[in-house]
Symmetry: C2
Subunit: 121 residues, 2 copies
Amino acid sequence: MYNDKVMDHFMNPHNVGEIENADGVGTYGSPVCGDMMQISIKVADDKITDAKFKTFGCGSAIASSSVATDMIIGMTIDEALDLTNKQIINELGGLPAVKIHCSVLADHAIKSAIYDYAQKT
Amino acid sequence: MYNDKVMDHFMNPHNVGEIENADGVGTYGSPVCGDMMQISIKVADDKITDAKFKTFGCGSAIASSSVATDMIIGMTIDEALDLTNKQIINELGGLPAVKIHCSVLADHAIKSAIYDYAQKT
Ligand code: FES
């Protein structure tokens, strides 16, 4: 059901946790499954220098957030805002259709963290 | 959002894995979130002597299956068939309403493992 890349990011997820003194923190709850995702970011010179996630969500949510946080570290705020859910899934090498909603969790929490950052600055 | 017992069973789940030469194996996929649960059981003299679960599901699914497998080990087949989803949630000390569907995963996979055992014997 899941490819090797998904399994690898599930077993050894990157960027798990919460950044202390984060510049932006976003949370998002899935209307589909009820799971929550929190993403915190650190920003310097308009670039995302660090990102971490915390979730009680499923393996697909963990794998999606692991690659998504990898992807946004080093991006400018504008680039991260342009990141689509489709790009996250592509980077993962695909997800079963019934699990697409889990990757949306990562996507929305990133946007929410960026809005939080924008509101603060 | 989650009580200490749920967190404890999520962080240190009991009975994770798959029983070799199981007497019954059941899988169930949630129509809500798309997650799958597999439960395998060992039966002797009409009693469940061992139970293990495997899932890619969320923290609530893991905690529910952890307590549910604990509960059925030592039960007769009839007792395990009578186990309700509500009893699993009570044993966990409660789950948020949006996460009830995750405990159903454990309940249904147990029933499915028992049917598999019944069909084989
Ligand atoms: S099922 Fe809830 S995050 Fe995947």
